[in-house]
């Protein structure tokens, strides 16, 4: 009983720990984010524009519903880091010459802010500093507006606006090749030709603001000044990606514990009903002595609650620790300046209540069956169990089977439901192992699809502003460039009925080889001559189907509002986007053959030379390197999703062990009498082990394929629900996931077998002879 109680407690503990860990991590991250946003005055509305006179600020402030306004200068720059060959780009944002920013305040990790009116000082983001090992006092070459300046790093800071730092056009942060920095307003404006003007504004709402109205009015105000569309936090890059990440974590935090706790509760019921069944004689004796069903019920409920509370307490303690540990990892990953870890009492209460309720229900259900039996009948020793020949024996296999083998299969066959429950229990253990590890397979597949089938360029060069298509020839003439394809990116808000989504329309050359769109079967398709093609997930979010007419609000240039038919949906696991034929897009925009950048296929031997040339081109705003993007992808996923999954896999392993061990123990307690009798008759330890472990082996072997099925179902459920703008996880299960799950279950079976085998060595032969069946 002790070992079994421990195993039950362990299962509960793992289920509860997953729950506590997931939910507390989630809540802590959100709390940290909120606190950081609040304390450092993260703005509510953001807008970029070409250039507006500073005087416009007063009119912005007059918009009803606006509380604070801060105008800024923001400059895209190239950064020159000695000994770092890859092109590095960045964004310098102005801070007031004197004092702190009004909005989006900086959290200084090291050093200080820039001194008033100094034009050679810069504060850099912590992530960027960390990636290159920069310290205050280090120097940095920055190309602003085509002119190189040497700046001294005076501080290292974090900003609520740039928790997630993404190079333009990338899916994932790249701290090495993209940096956010801050300079005094006057110095930056001078260098960027923005004296007395601004090209970026942020503001906060007052308490009674009409959110959409404020954004619309701001948009109207900025339109004549080349406004690129004001947007709220929801569309702010860092915030949006953070929210999507959180959403993803939240989904996992909701699904894993449900599955885990569910499995734990199921197993708990199986085990408890068996324990109670074995106690039926004692129950009868108690009843004969006049104990009421209620008294007996309380006795067992107390017993079960003791086991459950041991598990719950262990789960809460362990889950809390894991949650704090994981929150710290996330804090570093997301670059929060601090962490507010919090384990809310509600979660603890929920975990305890769910476990206890499940256990008590299971107990009472089994008890009811035991209590219904009149004491006299229950006290009579159970007549020898009735067995029958099993089907395979009747089919003529019997002659081949030794007596011990017949014992095994008849025992299984006698209680098919019970045997099935044991098998199902082990199968669930196998299944949650698969849930734990399937995302690794999915990631590999996503990379294969995204970077192997779809996005095949070696380098993606983005220009500062739309440029003539002739830029292609300049780049193609570089030594080592084998082939190039131009593309156009137009920021736009897509609207369908009441839904809208802010993204960019990618104009691609049809028949291109470097950027390919994939249909549902992942076959490359040709971009239709007209109409817009959406990522399937975007189509789902907007609720559009092929043929629907989409409203496209272009957020660039003369900002036309167009109606474009949806020409199709394409499969894409990473990010969301909209695609159009390049010439069709150019036509819509009333522009010649303008391009935003070029995809290049290169000979990798010439890369350093190509990078060197690209760095020298003032029009180049960013350079995406495919190889690095893949590495970043794994790094990002490794740090967020995979850690989560790893811990879950570990907990799943514990559950698997608990289940298998319990099955073995139940088998042992059911058969110890028989096995002891056989020992008396001169059977060796090995021979009786065969009977017990044979049953366990059959259960395990039957459970593995069933577990594969259940596991696949669970993974499909997760894949169907784990959908964010960042990525969608495809249901991909490689052989190694199956193999791993099976291996864990088999190892658990072996260890349980060994433990049980050791117990068999200490069977009390004499005790069984004294007792009735």
């Amino acid at each position: 009983m002790k070992g079994q109680a421990l195993a039950i407690a362990l299962i509960i503990a793992s289920g509860v720990a997953t729950f506590i860990m997931s939910v507390s991590t989630m809540q802590s991250l959100k709390l940290t984010q909120e606190t950081f946003y609040e304390d450092y005055r993260f703005a509510d509305v953001f807008a970029s524009l070409k250039r507006a006179p500073e005087s416009l600020q007063t009119r912005i402030r007059e918009i009803p519903g606006v509380d604070r306004v801060e105008t800024r200068v923001s400059a895209a720059v190239n950064i020159d880091i000695p000994d770092f060959p890859d092109p590095v780009t960045g964004n310098i944002i102005s801070i007031p010459d004197i004092g702190e920013s009004l909005l989006n305040k900086l959290f200084l990790r090291e050093g200080r802010l820039t001194e008033a009116f100094r034009d050679d000082e810069v504060v850099i983001g912590e992530a960027f500093a960390g990636a290159h090992g920069f310290k205050p006092g280090d120097k940095l070459g920055v190309i602003i507006n085509g002119r190189r300046r040497d700046l001294t790093i005076v501080g290292i800071a974090l900003s609520p606006e740039h928790i997630y730092q993404m190079p333009p056009g990338a899916f994932f942060p790249d701290f090495e090749r993209y940096g956010v920095m801050w300079m005094g307003r006057t110095a930056l404006a001078t260098a960027y030709d923005m004296k007395g003007a601004f090209n970026d504004v942020t503001l906060t709402f007052s308490s009674n603001a009409d959110v959409n109205d404020v954004i619309e009015r701001l948009d109207e105000l900025l339109k004549p000044y080349g406004g690129l569309g004001a947007y709220s936090r929801k569309d702010q890059l860092s915030h949006r990606y953070l929210s999507e990440e959180f959403k993803q974590l939240e989904q996992m935090a909701a699904m894993f514990p449900v599955i885990f706790l569910g499995v734990a509760v199921f197993l708990l019921n199986v085990v408890i009903s068996r324990v109670i069944h074995m106690q039926r004689e004692e129950i009868a004796v108690l009843k004969a002595f006049g104990y009421s069903n209620f008294d007996i019920g309380m006795h067992f409920v107390k017993l079960v609650l003791m086991i459950v509370s041991t598990g719950v307490i262990a789960g809460i303690t362990g889950g809390g620790r894991l949650g704090e540990w994981m929150s710290n990892i996330y804090m570093e990953f997301y670059r929060f300046p601090f962490l507010k870890y919090e384990l809310q009492p509600e979660i603890i209460i929920i975990a305890a209540l769910v476990s206890a309720a499940a256990a008590i229900l299971g107990t009472l259900h089994s008890l009811r069956k035991a209590a219904l039996l009149p004491p006299a009948q229950a006290m009579r020793p159970e007549p020898p169990a009735t067995y029958r020949e099993t089907l395979p024996e009747q089919l003529g296999l019997k002659r081949l089977l030794s007596q011990p083998t017949r014992m095994i299969i008849r025992h299984i066959g006698r209680r098919p439901v019970k045997s099935l429950l044991s098998v199902t229990g082990i199968a669930f253990a196998c299944a949650i192992m698969m849930v734990g590890s399937f995302q690794g397979d999915a990631l590999d597949f996503m990379v294969y699809v995204q970077f192997g089938l779809s996005q095949r360029e070696d380098i993606a060069v983005t220009f500062v502003e739309p440029t003539s298509g002739r830029a292609l020839y300049e780049l193609q003439s570089l030594e080592g460039v084998e082939y190039g394809e131009v593309f156009r990116t137009v920021p736009a808000r897509l609207r369908f009925r009441h839904r809208s989504y802010r993204t960019a329309i990618q104009g691609l050359k049809s028949g291109g080889d470097l950027q390919r769109l994939l249909d549902a079967d992942l076959k490359p398709i040709d971009l239709p001559r007209s109409g817009i093609v959406l990522t399937d997930h975007l189509g789902e979010m907007l609720g559009v189907r092929e043929g629907d007419r989409l409203t496209v609000e272009v957020l660039e240039g003369r900002r036309p509002v167009l109606t474009v038919p949806v020409a199709g949906l394409v499969s894409q696991y990473l990010g969301v986007s909209a695609y159009m034929n390049l010439s069709a897009l150019n036509r819509l925009m009333h522009e010649g053959n303008a391009v935003s950048g070029v995809y290049l296929a290169t000979d990798s031997r010439y890369l350093p030379g190509i990078f060197k040339k690209l760095k020298e081109m003032p029009r180049v705003a960013g350079t995406g390197i495919r190889e690095k993007a893949i590495a970043k992808f794994y790094e990002t996923m490794g740090e967020t999703i995979l850690i989560f999954t790893l811990i879950n896999t570990l907990l799943a392993g514990i559950i698997a062990f608990g289940v298998v061990y319990n099955s073995a123990r139940i088998a042992l307690s059911e058969r110890s009498r028989e096995l002891a009798s056989l020992r008396v008759l001169g059977f060796t330890r090995g021979e009786i082990s065969y009977i017990l472990l044979g049953e366990l082996s059959i259960f395990t072997l039957a459970a593995v394929p069933l577990g594969f099925l259940i596991g696949r179902g669970m993974c499909a459920y997760i894949a169907a629900n784990l959908k964010t703008d960042l990525y969608r996880v495809p249901l991909i299960l490689e052989a190694d996931t199956y193999a791993f799950a099976a291996a864990v279950v088999l190892v658990c079976a072996c260890i349980s077998g060994l433990i049980v085998r050791r117990k068999l060595d200490h069977l009390d032969l004499i005790a069984v002879l004294k007792a009735k069946e």
């Binding site: 009798s677 008396v680 060796t684 004499i766």
Partner: protein, 246 residues
């Protein structure tokens, strides 16, 4: 092969068991229970011995030690001249497997095996076993071969247990209250089987009972009290079981 007429002569048969100074102490922490206190005895080939004594006198303990199910705290037990005290588990298992047949009060049959299979489970691993069906015919169950224990009466189950015990052709048969759970008529049937096995196969038999009447069928009756042999009685004339009444 001894028959009734020879049973009152000094037995010339070789000694099957010889126990010398056997003690068994159960250490219960605070108290020590002395189940056997330096007991000496012999069991001769082919003889039928009944062990009588009050409850707690050490009968089962003695039987279990003789059968290799338990080990003595001190003293020696030899089987055909071979010391089995302190033998390793492996040797004791082999000893039980090839040489000893057990019959217990609660039958201890394997419920998932038929009568025939319950016997076969032992003959499959024995050296020179009988045919399992024949062993069952010997105990009068030739027509119940394919019945599972649940389908047999208590007496029939006990006879299966006896068939199982004798089918390996053991040298000794150790029976601990084989009729304890049976009514007298059924008990007598079981005793007849034991008597027949002893007579026809010459298997030395030790039989524990609480029933003094049963002592009548023994060659010798050993009285145990408080862990020691208090008296040995040799029956002038063995009764056959159907002469017994209780």
């Amino acid at each position: 092969m001894p028959d009734n007429s020879m049973s009152n002569t000094i037995s010339p048969e070789p000694v099957v068991f010889r126990a010398r100074g056997v003690t068994k102490v159960y250490d219960m922490g605070e108290v020590k229970v002395h189940a056997l206190r330096g007991l000496d005895m012999e069991l001769y080939a082919g003889e039928m011995v009944v062990l009588l004594g009050p409850s707690g006198s050490g009968k089962s303990t003695l039987l279990n030690i003789l059968g290799g199910l338990d080990t003595a705290t001190s003293g020696h037990v030899s089987y055909h001249g071979r010391d089995i005290t302190g033998a390793p588990d492996k040797e004791l298992t082999e000893y039980r497997r090839f040489h000893v047949g057990f019959v217990f009060q609660f039958y201890n049959l394997i419920p998932s095996l038929t009568a025939l299979e319950n016997v076969a489970v032992v003959t499959e691993i024995a050296l020179e076993p009988m045919d399992p069906a024949e062993a069952l015919r010997l105990v009068g169950l030739g027509n119940r071969l394919d019945h599972f224990p649940a389908q047999l009466s208590g007496g029939e189950q006990q006879r299966v247990a006896i068939a199982r015990a004798v089918a390996k052709n053991p040298d000794v048969l150790l029976c601990d209250e084989p009729t304890g759970a049976l009514d007298s008529a059924t008990g007598i049937v079981v005793l007849e089987v034991l008597e027949r096995v002893n007579r026809e196969l010459g298997t030395a038999t030790v039989l524990i009972t609480h029933n003094a009447d049963i002592a009548g069928m023994a060659d010798r009756v050993i009285y145990l009290s408080d862990g020691l042999i208090s008296r040995v009685h040799r029956n002038e004339r063995k009764k056959s079981p159907h002469e017994l009444r209780w």
